[in-house]
Symmetry: C2
Subunit: 386 residues, 2 copies
């Protein structure tokens, strides 16, 4: 029974390698602690303690050094005589944090955690609940659907996956819906906003509360083979622009009941996706009347060193502000309050506002992570299509 | 820029830890070798060689022992002076194989591979192409959609995720469709058939070729909190039966345009899911007129030791075969030809056929793995609803 033994061996290794795999009832846990939803089967460890620090356990009798890499900080684990390694991290801010298990220098994902595509690999993660806030949780309201499709990209000459959220009632209705095109960050892909970003829960709850109109949310993968995702310049954005306007948007308008006009179309994104939304959104008013730029580092990058020239990057924004404003229904820039990008974002918003540009700025507690990005979508979606 | 450094650190670790992360063009590869689709970004390693052996590379200068666990066999990797570990496995059969990277005794997933939920954890995997066979590949035909939804389970008293494949044209049509309820194996979940099993490619291609009628395929998660998934007895199947008939099927019939009658409903599954399909399918003729049992170990388990009593397990199958046959439009049992379960399956099929039961048996090359399961669905779907 080769495969059975194989599974059995794997299972055994897993249970050896992570106390998290033990039935929870065998253990008593610190008061106020809980198993995060990112744990497989809500296993006991990793465990969030009452002060939002995280306690990790790994059984690795043969390992010389075991570390947890969480939030950019490496924690050395302590080994017991039984070969079990443990560590408790510093208190973490609420939200979603990628982490890695590092065994004798090899960073890999933890068998105790579900994995999420981020940092250009599958990564383990900890979801720390934000107390008293259930906007991102599944609730007893009408639910939409997250659909995985493939479209053919003439830019990549390949079939490419794409995720589409349709709101509750889409299948039963004959209505057409407005669309947000939402972009992931560097090292992430089309699954980021749907999994880490919790688009379905955010939109289901907003729509049920009457705070947002029913809309479709499309998450494409901007990691084009020719590097279309990167390059914070109009030239660098051309492959992504072509992919969006010639492949993605026509595919969505053909296959879904969309309101296929600029007024009912928005583009937004986080970090790298924020830069994409800035250039492609603001320079394509015939395509998008709504633009959201979340936590971009663009304004603090190389171009900021030379001074980020708004008029050069978006011709007409400063020289013909009246016309620029007329073409935009909503223009939102956001950043996390502990994100070092925030000062550059505040400065550029001040410049725009001084020139008379209709731009709104919002900040949310948190660093360059998913909780402020979820809150950015939560805020942006409420502004749109009303 | 805390998070940026964090990402940079992770990226650096990944590129240190897996040569697979190096740009492919830097290397020359063995003739006839390729990067499997299961590699992140089609990185260079792990690499399938022309004889279907797999070459692995891992950079781990500080590790004492690095192994690859593939197909139930552990391969010790050899360390170079530079701290790079390499190994080439025995030739593998075509199809999908889970594997683990084992660093100093800790089994984890390989940063170079996408992960798949199997063996009760997220596992790395290698997809070895079957030459001259593209039934499971995405082709230039009309494509359906894979949808992720949540339904409320009164059995678990919780929201539970479920995957639903809808065929090409579903959204544009007003037709109603027949439904296959397809069950995963032990240690897998509702994502198994959609990801590892490639349901969408299999169904899209069959329907485009006119070999199968357009149908919906539903993959539920049978890992109920009360252990509804397991227990190869009618008693043990009661929680799963309740979940299917009181929660899953009513939810699907309410939210999709289904032909909601026994003649247009099938249940099938692999391994543990095969046992579920056997009991729930054959003992609920008022619900299902079509049953597929793939690679079950049930006939070779404890009950086989006492002789698997068909009449006891499915009252009427032997004592009233005429009526039993009348209630079943299609009854298929399959097994991999290298799966040690095959003899028990052949024996039980012989018993059934000797008693006059209308059951069909098919076998496919391969062990207790996904390639024979994909081929089982490919065969079963062509028999149904015509």
């Amino acid at each position: 029974m080769k495969r059975i033994i194989s599974s059995a061996v794997l299972m055994a290794l897993v249970s050896l390698n992570s106390v998290a795999q033990r039935p929870v009832q065998r253990e008593s846990f610190p008061e106020g602690s809980y198993s995060p939803v990112t744990n497989i089967n809500r296993n006991g460890y990793p465990r969030v303690l009452s002060d939002n620090s995280v306690s990790f356990r790994v059984n690795a009798p043969q390992a010389q050094r075991v570390q947890i890499d969480l939030g950019g900080r490496k924690y050395d684990m302590q080994k017991s005589d039984a070969g079990q390694w443990t560590v408790t991290t510093a208190p973490q801010v609420p939200g979603f944090h990628y982490y890695s298990l590092v065994v004798d220098g090899v960073a890999a994902s933890d068998p105790a955690s579900y994995t999420f595509y981020g940092t250009s690999r599958v990564s383990s993660a900890i979801e720390i609940a934000e107390k008293g806030m259930d906007d991102f949780e599944i609730q007893d309201v009408p639910h939409g659907q997250v659909r995985k499709l493939n479209y053919f990209s003439k830019v990549d000459n390949a079939w490419r996956p794409i995720c589409v959220y349709t709101p509750a009632g889409y299948d039963q209705s004959k209505d057409s819906y407005p669309v947000i095109y939402i972009q992931h960050g560097g090292g992430e892909d089309h699954t980021g906003w749907m999994e880490q970003g919790r688009v379905a829960n955010i939109m289901d709850n907003l729509i049920a509360q009457g705070k947002a109109v029913p809309m479709i949310v499309v998450s494409a993968n901007s990691n084009l083979s020719n590097g279309g995702g990167g390059g914070y310049s109009w030239t660098g954005m051309q492959p992504f622009l072509k992919e969006m306007t010639e492949n993605v948007i026509p595919f969505i308008d053909k296959n879904f009941r969309t309101k296929a006009d600029r007024k009912h179309r928005a583009i937004c994104g986080l970090s790298m996706g924020g830069g994409q939304s800035f250039y492609v959104g603001l320079r394509s008013p015939e395509v998008f009347a709504n633009v959201g730029v979340f936590s971009t580092g663009m304004f603090g990058g190389i171009q900021q060193a030379n001074g980020f020239d708004l008029e050069k990057e978006v011709p007409g924004m400063i020289s013909d502000t009246k016309n620029f404003n007329k073409n935009l229904d909503h223009f939102l820039i956001t950043c996390g309050e502990q994100d070092q990008r925030i000062e550059h974002n505040k400065n550029i918003v001040a410049k725009m506002q001084a020139a008379g540009v209709n731009v709104e700025f919002k900040s949310f507690p948190g660093d360059h992570e998913w909780q402020p990005w979820r809150k950015s979508l939560h805020a942006f979606a409420q502004m749109l299509f009303k």
